[in-house]
Amino acid sequence: MSLIQIKRQRKSDVNLKQVYDAIVVGSGAAGGMAAHVLTSKGMKVLLLEAGKKLDLDKELKSTEWPYEHRRRGEMPPDAHALIPNEYTIRQPPYAKGLPHKHVYSYVQSWGGSDYSKNIVVDERDHPYTGTNYAWVRARVLGGKTTIWGRLALRLSDLDFKAKTHDGYGEDWPISYADLAPYYDKVDLYLGISGQKENLPHLPDSIFQRPTKLNFAEVKLRQGLKKMNRVLTPYRAGVTTDGLKHNKYRNRCYGRGACNRRAGGCDIHAAFDSPTGLIYPAMDTGNLTLRTNAIAYEVTVDKNTGKATGVAFVDAETKKTYEAKAKVVVLAASTLESTRLMLLSKSALHPNGIGNSSAHVGHNFCEHIMGPGVAGLVKDLVGKPHTLDDGRPGGFYVARFRNLTDRHADFIRGYGFEGGSGTTMFPGNAMGTTGFGANYKKQVRDYAGAFISMGAFGEVLPRYENYVDIDPEMKDAWGIPVLRFHYKFGDNEKKMAKDMADTAREMFEAAGIEVVGVEREILTEGWSIHELGTARMGMDKKTAVLNQFQQSHDVKNLFVVDGSSHVSASCQNPTWTIMALAWRSCDYLADQFKKGNL
C-alpha cells in the first residue's frame, strides 16, 4: 500500500522558457530559507527539488500505536535499513551485494523506520564510494528538516573567531554581531523553545515557552551548577506558543511523538521547511516549485563564465531539462551542493564551477559522536510512571572545554544532549538480563529511573579530509557520485576520550549512579551534520565563497547551505544555516535590484 501522494506537476506550473530571477536548488533548511527570503523581496524564484512532495502527515503517523502497525513500525521484509556495523565494516557503496530490494541509509530501530522509508534515500539508487561514511540523506520536499531532531542552537564568536582563540584553521569572515539580527529573525519567524542562560558561548535565542525538565534532569542541572557547567532545557526549533503569521503550523501539544519516530512532527509544531518556509513562500505568488527535479549541472555562459541556469533530470521520467535564471542559489545540502559544483565543469571552470581555489570538497568537517553515559536515579526506582516523552526533547549541556582555560590534549569542545524518564518502549527492557517475573518487575520498576546523555564534538576542518567525484560509479540517473576521503583525526579522538570521562564525572557529581559509560566513537557521518566543503573566507585562494556565500569566481552563484561553514563548532548547525541563508539572500536581493549580479 503506497501512502505517497505526489502533487503532479502540471506543465503550466513550471515554465522553462521563462528566465527566472533566481533558481534555488534544494528545499531543505537552506533552500526553504532562500525561497522565503527571495520571494518576500519580490523576486521570481524557481525551486528545484530532487525529491517528491510527500504527504508528510500520512508518512509519519506519529500517534499510531505500535500494535496498530503490522510490523510494529518496522520496515517490510524486502527492505533493509543499514545497521551500525555495516557502516564500519563494509566499504561503500553499502547496498552492494545485499539481497533486499531497498536498502535505506537511516538505521533501522524500533523508532519505526517504516515511517521514514519514503523520506530517506535508498542506497541502491544513491551509492557513493571511498572511506566509510554514514551519509543520511532525505530526498523529499523539505529535505532532512522533515525528520530532524530540531535541537536549535546559535554559534558565538568563540566559533566564528576560533582561530583567533586557539590558532587553528581560519576565522569566519563574519562575527556574531553580523549574524545575531538574522538569528533573531529566524527565531521569530519559525519559533524556538528554550530558556535563557546568558552564556556568551551559547547565545540565547528569542525563546518561546521552554519545555520543563523532569526530576532526574533537575538533579543533574543542580549537580552541574556546582561545577560551573550549564544544563538547559532542550532548545528546540519548535513553536510552543504558536505562530500567528503561519497558518500551516500548530503549537506543540507534547504528544510524545518527538522521541518515537525518526523525527517528524505531523502537526508541524517542530519546524520543517515545507510548512515553515515553502508553503508561505508559495502564497506570495512568486515561487514556482518543481519537484522530482534532480539538478546535475549549473550551466554557464561560455564567454562570461557566469551561471545561466541549471540542467536537471526528471526523477521519474529521466528526461532532461534546462531552466534559466539570472542568479543560481545552491542549497542541495553540504555534500550535494559540493557534488553539483564539482560536476559543473566547463572551459572557464575546469575544476568545477566556483572552484578556482581547488578547495571545493575540502575542509570537510562535522561532529563526532559516540561517547556518553547512562545513569540511574535511585529515588525514582519503583515510583509510579510519569509521562516524560511528551515534549520535543530533554536537555542540552553547553560546551565547557577550552572556553577560557586550555585543555592539554585537544582544542575546541563538545556539548551533550540527553534526557530521562519513561518512554513508550521501556528503554531498559533490552538491556535487563534474565527472564521471568523478576525480569518483568525489574523492567517496570526501573523504567523511569534512567538518565543518559551523549556528546557532539567539533571535528576540525582539514584540507586532507575531502570528497571528490568518483571516476566510475554513477547513481540511478547516470550522475557521477561522490567519493569520500575522510577520517577523524587525533584531536577528535582525544576529545572523545575526554567526553566519556567528563560524562561520568558529571553524573557522579550529581549523585547519579553510573550504569554505563560508552567510549566508542561512531562511524564518520553519524551526526548527520556534514559541513565545510565550500567554505567562506576573504581570500579567494583558500576560500570558495565570500561572507555572503557568494562564489568568489562567479558572482551570480550563491551556495547557502552548510558547505559554506568555515568550522563546525560543536553546536548543531541548522539554525545557523538558516540565519546565514537569510543574511546572504538579503544581500543577494539587494545586489540584484542594484543590477550588480
Binding site: 500505536w65 505500535p66 500494535y67 510494529r72 521484509p77 524486502d78 533493509h80 535499513a81 545497521i83 551500525p84 556495523n85 533486499h100 538505521v107 530501530s109 524500533w110 523508532g111 531532531g149 530558556q195 520543563k212 523532569n214 528546540a236 504528544r255 510524545g256 518515537r260 525518526a262 523525527g263 556518553g372 553515559v373 547512562a374 510519569t386 509521562l387 515534549r391 540527553g418 534526557g419 518512554t423 513508550m424 518502549f425 521501556p426 528503554g427 527492557a429 533490552m430 538491556g431 538480563t433 534474565g434 521471568g436 517475573a437 523478576n438 525480569y439 518483568k440 523492567v443 534512567f450 543518559s452 546523555m453 550504569v515 554505563g516 559509560v517 560508552e518 566508542e520 561512531l522 553519524w526
Partner: protein, 215 residues
Amino acid sequence: MADQSEKQKMMKDNNQPATDEAQDLRAQTTSNEAAGMSRREVLKLTASAIVAAPLLPATTQATQRKAAAKAPAPRFFTRAEFALVDELTELIIPTDDHSPGARAAKVAEYIDRRLAESFEAEPKQMWRDGLKLIETISQEMHGRAFLQATPDERIALLTRISQNEREPKKPEEKFFVELKARTVNAYYTSKIGIHTEMEYKGNTYLKEFVGVDAT
C-alpha cells in the same frame, strides 16, 4: 533528547546477533534511557534480574494443546514448534499479579508472522535449529520433551541457556538472546505491554508537559 536518541539508538553493538532485526532490537537497547551504554559495560543494574526464576502459570498441557488446536495454523512454525515458542515466551515474560504476560499478548503469533515473511534465510534457520536444540537439551537434562518437563525443569533449562546473555557463545545461548529480544520487543509494543504492564500515559495531546520547575 530527540536528536541524540534517534542517533544514539543506532550505537554499535558488540555482540553480533544472528539477524539484522535482532541487532536492531538490541541497538535500541541503548536508545532512550540507556543511550550511550554498550552492554558489555552495563554494570549493576542487571545482575539481580536472573536470581529468582518465576513460577509457571498453571497451564496444563491439555489446555495448551486444546488451545493450540483451535488457534489458526501458524505460518512459519509447525504447530509443535508454535506451542514451544508460546511457552518459552511466556516463561520469559509471564503473567503476574500486575499484568498478563507474553501468551496473552500473542507474542508467539507476532514472532511467527514476522519470521514467515522474512526475506532472509538466516533467522528462519536460527529459530528452527534453536527450537530443536531446546528439545535436545531438555532430553539431556530431564529425559523428556520441553513441554512434558515440570515447571521447575523448564526454568532450569532456560536458566542454563541464559547464563551468558551478555556474551553468548554456545548456539543455545545465542538462541536465547534472539528469543528474548523478539519476545521483549513484541511484548512491550503490544497493547498489554504498553497500557496494562507499563501503564504508559503518553501519545496524547497535552496542554503542558508536567515537569519539575527548574528555575
